[in-house]
């Protein structure tokens, strides 16, 4: 691991000696790193090195086995942490029977939030113009991923936790993710992104966590 402290604002994620073990068998850690507003962090590692597991720990879906993690100054999974965090995992959490637009509305409703660009405009922005009323079931793998990206961008979250956001996306999609990340960081947000290194974010990475398999 390479601990890198970016700026002087209080860190959005702070891990101290953080580690996770399944049945006392280590998956990753101990890790020390911090990520502040305006920064993009990469989690790099080979298949099975624990990238997904680390993100789930930070989201509060798994409890760390040792060490501590603070997310937005609170326990991972606490209300404060949840309120300011948005997560995108291997499973996108879209309802296949509802349309792309309805899915976005639900995502916003769960955060009690009505952003100004609006869900319809956002769909256009992610390249799904004309697919707003299409049920998600009948979208291709990459199109589903784009709906999830649109939802992410609509939520009022300062911190993004993204698991392989580039998978299944074409070249335009990859650029889209990079643009979203840049804009998010410019607005003072932070993002933690897993990647295999083949495709990933390169400009302005403020912190890299390397996991060993």
């Amino acid at each position: 691991m390479t601990p890198t402290l970016a700026s002087s604002t209080p860190p959005m994620i702070e891990a101290r000696g953080l580690g996770f073990a399944r049945r006392d068998e280590g998956v990753f850690g101990p890790l020390d790193f911090a990520l502040s507003g305006g920064g993009i962090g990469l989690i790099e590692g080979d298949n099975g090195s624990g990238k997904t597991t680390l993100l789930r720990v930070l989201a509060g879906l798994l409890r760390p086995s040792f060490g501590t993690a603070r997310v937005l100054g609170a326990e991972p999974g606490s209300e404060t942490a949840r309120e300011g965090t948005a997560t995108m995992g291997h499973l996108l959490g879209l309802k296949a029977d509802l349309s792309a637009l309805e899915n976005l509305r639900i995502g916003m409703g769960l955060y009690g939030h009505k952003p100004t660009p609006g869900p319809f405009a956002m769909l256009t922005q992610v390249g799904l113009e004309g697919y707003a009323d299409e049920p998600v079931r009948s979208l291709s793998a990459g199109q589903k991923k784009r709906v999830a990206l649109a939802r992410l961008a609509l939520l009022p979250a300062r911190l993004w936790l993204l698991d392989e956001p580039y998978a299944n996306l074409d070249r335009h999609g990859i650029n889209l993710v990079n643009d979203l990340l840049t804009a998010h960081a410019a607005a003072g947000g932070a993002a933690l992104v897993t990647s295999h290194g083949a495709v990933s974010f390169h400009q302005g990475v403020t912190c890299t966590v390397r996991l060993a398999a």
């Binding site: 509060g60 798994l62 879209l94 309802k95 309805e102 769960l110 009690g112």
Partner: protein, 228 residues
């Protein structure tokens, strides 16, 4: 967390669930059809003897409604779990119990309400005495939400597992025994012309308690089952 945003989240969930049910309205009809068919099977299995059927009518309708609700229970979290929507719910800033309360209400509206509408028809077809009919309906009106609340808590406990609905039946049915006994007790008493208010009062008391506790218990159960 403001009250408005709480209400908004509750509404979002409720609308979402009703919308999903509407998109799959064929599926939503099926518990009813299932109940009709099971109730129809009994005359075939027992022979068409009228007195016998009338004697068991109340009980058969109760058990049938219970089993139909049980079948639909299995899917309460299954879909949301498989596509990751449940995780999104867990990660949303709103209290989980609130979102689950909306889920419970939607489940009752979609599954139990149609069953309540056909139950009198089934009871009539099996020959239940007219005097006992309103009591049966009243019993079901109290028993179905109770079953729904209890059932969803248990379903939440099995959410992390990939088990079929069978495990759920094993867990739910022992806990449902008192509900069945009281509901059947009221109907039986009405059939014999005895007073039937007491068992229903018990059910009502249990329901009041469950309405308060079940969403909280369900949130706890879900967090345990998904290990958060």
């Amino acid at each position: 967390m403001s009250a408005a945003s709480l209400g908004g989240a509750f509404r979002t969930m409720l609308v979402r669930d009703l919308l999903l049910a509407w998109r799959r309205r064929g599926d939503a009809m099926l518990p009813v059809l299932y109940a009709i068919i099971v109730a129809t099977l009994f005359p075939f299995a027992l022979g068409p003897e009228h007195a016998l059927l009338a004697r068991i009518a109340g009980g058969v309708v109760l058990v049938t409604v219970l089993l139909a609700m049980l079948l639909a229970l299995d899917n309460v979290f299954r879909g949301d779990l498989d596509d990751g929507a449940l995780e999104q719910m867990l990660l949303a800033p709103q209290p989980l119990s609130l979102l689950l309360a909306a889920r419970m209400l939607a489940y009752w509206l979609v599954t139990a309400l149609p069953l309540l509408l056909v139950a009198p028809v089934l009871a009539y077809m099996l020959g239940l005495e007219p005097a006992a009919q309103p009591v049966l309906l009243l019993a079901l009106l109290l028993a179905t939400p109770l079953l729904a609340l209890l059932g969803i808590v248990l379903t939440a406990l099995t959410a992390g597992t990939r088990r079929s609905g069978m495990l759920l039946s094993l867990m739910l049915l022992p806990l449902a025994v008192p509900i069945v006994i009281f509901a059947a007790g009221a109907v039986g008493a009405a059939q014999q012309g005895l007073p039937w208010v007491a068992p229903l009062a018990w059910l009502a008391a249990a329901l009041a308690l469950a309405l308060v506790l079940a969403p909280l218990a369900c949130a706890t159960a879900l967090r345990i089952a998904l290990d958060t």
